[in-house]
């Protein structure tokens, strides 16, 4: 080590938004002021994955993991930790067992994780190509350019068994092989960084924390299939990732790793960024290509597949960010090494964005074959606020719910389909007993209907009808035949829609009806919402034995629905009540209940 200490400050979006940059600046200033600037290097890295506890600062070589750091803590970190060699205990993760949980490898959140895709996230400064190179970056490209033929590269991917991480799980080597075999002078390489599933941010963190891994992989692909141009299609909503990509591309060009005659090999390859504009359907590959071409992003019938007729009619490989990030490691370490990780059906790891009602929300990377229970309870720490686990949804708006009964399923592409969901891109949303399953299904359906491009009728009309039925049910106007009707419409959409958006849109309903049929029937038959979410189906009332007549609720009720004398039982007039929930929040005596 050239420096005595390294201080890593998380520069991911979540931490940046909690003033991580100020922490970074202050640490540099404190190092100067306290005379240790020559001995300590302060580095801003990508996301550590533990965003819930951010902003995060890690000090090496002690591996002290500081959480919820604020800019004013910089002084103490330098004065105590760096100068006196005493860890700042109050900032360590889990102070209760202070020393025990201080080190990164001791934190349960990280114990079951295995990092390939996120290998550099939180370790290197993504704005400095030298740090990527120092961790074996661009070695795979060198190997691919000088020691391997296109077929060798593809063979390595085949041995690895890598399947696409964008959702469908298509074997990557096959895609490359089709494109390589397609006869054409011009071919393209495309990176899908549209990441439309709301609640998922794996690709964003990878690009922010390790942009070179994607650039390197795309260049390797260019060599393998004979393409000279690549495009990264990225959401405009990701300004930090775009900025880091631009910096990385400029540095790679400067180092002769991108552009003309790469590393003197005679091979030319360059990459351009194209921005998405907030249309979920543009994550679908044919729509994405339409969008790069500057058109409305309408999905196109396949075949022809992009491998044959893609961007501007030329053979095109299109892969997801996470798929790309795996590739340099596979080329460096070999397909055999990779294929030993994971299950028979799915090799390697998968990154998930664990969010919702989970205690440790964040980004996790686990080997395929890890069970959902390990992710939710061991890594995620279970449900927040002592509530009960209800379900987890994978696959976003195209996926389904998974209940406690299936939590011990080892995750891979096949097993998730067998339990009625799908891998999707890696969103993992945890719900607890306070969440209404019908309301969540309605949320997803509203999303897909909003995002449908409207090109084909089953998706356009079917989706709208499903939404209307769900709306009716949550308003208390559902009839028993609605369940049957939704199943019928859902099946028609699956069969008749042109693209996977429409084909999978009914999944959240079909799967939740299967596992939570009771809850749907409660809404329809008993006109009640067991979790108390659907306003029209709940009643607020006051328990006679708990109310002490403090009048607080009556004063706060916006419509004057509560009456009662001081020190007497209060009563809610159900005809006036607008179910705003204010009385429930107000009563300190637990006298207001919602049913």
């Amino acid at each position: 080590m050239a420096f005595r200490n390294y201080i890593l400050v998380c520069g991911g979006t979540a931490c940046e938004s909690s003033r991580a940059d100020q922490i970074y600046q202050n640490l540099i200033k404190e190092c100067k002021d306290q005379g240790v600037a020559d001995e300590v290097q302060v580095i801003k890295t990508g996301c550590f994955g533990f965003c819930e506890q951010g902003p995060i600062v890690k000090v090496l070589p002690e591996d002290s993991f500081y959480v919820k750091v604020s800019p004013k803590d910089a002084h103490e970190i330098i004065a105590e930790h760096i100068i006196k060699g005493r860890e700042v205990t109050r900032l360590l993760y889990d102070k209760s067992e202070s020393r025990k949980h201080a080190k990164v490898e001791d934190i349960q959140f990280y114990q079951k994780q295995f990092r390939i895709v996120l290998r550099n996230c939180g370790f290197i400064d993504p704005e400095n190509i030298d740090e990527y190179i120092a961790r074996e970056g661009y070695e795979a490209l060198e190997k691919a350019l000088f020691e391997m033929t296109g077929d060798d590269i593809i063979e390595e991917l085949k041995t690895a068994g890598l399947r696409g991480r964008g959702g469908a799980g298509f074997p990557t080597w096959m895609k490359w092989n089709f494109t390589k075999q397609a006869e054409n002078d011009v071919k393209y390489v495309v990176c899908n960084a549209d990441e439309g599933d709301p609640g998922a941010y794996m690709d964003r963190s990878t690009l922010e924390g390790d942009p070179h891994s994607v650039l390197e992989a795309m260049t390797i692909c260019g060599k393998a299939i004979g393409a000279q141009k690549g495009y990264i299609y990225i959401r405009a909503e990701y300004p930090l990732a775009i900025n880091r990509l631009e910096i990385a591309m400029a540095q790679a060009r400067e180092y002769g790793l991108l552009g003309k005659n790469i590393l003197g090999s005679g091979f030319d390859f360059d990459i351009e960024i194209r921005l998405g504009a907030g249309a979920f359907v543009c994550g679908e590959e044919t729509a994405l290509l339409q969008s790069i071409e500057g058109h409305r992003g309408m999905p196109q019938p396949r075949p022809p597949f992009p491998a044959v007729k893609g961007l501007w009619g030329k053979p095109t490989v299109i892969n997801n960010v996470e798929t790309w990030a795996n590739i340099p490691v596979i080329i460096s370490k070999g397909g055999n090494w990779f294929s030993k990780i994971g299950t028979a059906d799915s090799k390697g790891t998968k990154v998930f964005a664990l969010t919702g009602k989970i205690r440790n929300s964040g980004l996790v990377e686990v080997p395929m074959g890890t069970t959902l229970r390990e992710i939710v309870f061991d890594i995620g720490g279970g449900i927040a606020n002592g509530r009960k686990f209800k379900a987890v949804q994978t696959g976003g708006p195209s996926g389904g719910v998974i209940t406690d009964a299936d939590l011990d399923t080892p995750i891979d592409f096949g097993s998730l389909v067998r339990i009625g969901s799908m891998m999707g891109s890696g969103g993992m949303i945890v719900m607890d007993e306070d969440d209404c399953i019908v309301d969540v299904a309605k949320f997803y359906l509203n999303f897909t209907v909003d995002e449908s491009c409207g090109k084909c009728a089953p998706c356009r009309i079917g989706g709208r009808s499903l939404c209307n039925i769900l709306e009716k049910i949550t308003l208390g106007n559902g009839v028993p035949e609605d369940l049957e009707a939704m199943a019928t419409i859902g099946k028609a959409m699956r069969v008749g829609s042109l693209c996977a958006l429409g084909q999978t849109a009914p999944n959240p309903i079909l799967s939740s009806m299967k596992f939570f049929g009771e809850e749907y029937r409660a809404h329809i038959e008993d006109k009640s919402c067991p979790s108390g979410t659907c306003k029209n189906l709940v009643t607020y009332s006051i328990l006679a034995d708990k109310c002490i007549g403090c009048t607080a609720c009556a004063r706060k009720c916006p419509v004057g629905a509560i009456t009662g004398e001081k020190k007497q039982l209060h009563i809610i007039d159900q005809n006036t009540c607008i179910k705003c929930g204010v009385c429930l929040e107000t009563c300190k005596f637990g006298a207001v209940v919602v049913q």
Binding site: E16, P198, R204, A279, G362, F443
Partner: protein
Amino acid sequence: MSESNENKFSPELLSFINEWKDKPGNLIMVLHKVQEEQDYISREAADQVAALLDVPLATIWGVVSFYHFFKLTKPGKHNIQICMGTACYLKGAQPLIDELAKQLAIEVNEVTDDGLFSLEAVRCVGCCGLAPVLTVGGEVFGKVTKDQIAGIIAKYK
């Protein structure tokens, strides 16, 4: 300021358009740049883009109306974006929208009379660990509660 003056393209924007003029598939990138400078795509701006890139106006409106990111009306000076992604929805984004709408006395996609604030519901902004999240002109607020709304608005007044 007259409308046409307000929507005049800056020299930087014009040179960006010039640079992209002959690249295939340039329209969306050009519209992004226009919106970056002017906050929305006005009629005048669309007319100019049509002339500069030599594409039919209908094509431009087709693209602008397809993509949610492009705005057709001028947003407030401070555009408040509330994340309505799944993680934020589950953590109570809807009550936040209701509260903002109440305090600003506008609905989603409207602008306050003084032009100071507008309200927009957006998809995941990528900070799901901090749900529920809202952003005001690029500044991110995480784990927002209803009580903080008044303070956040006050900060930009």
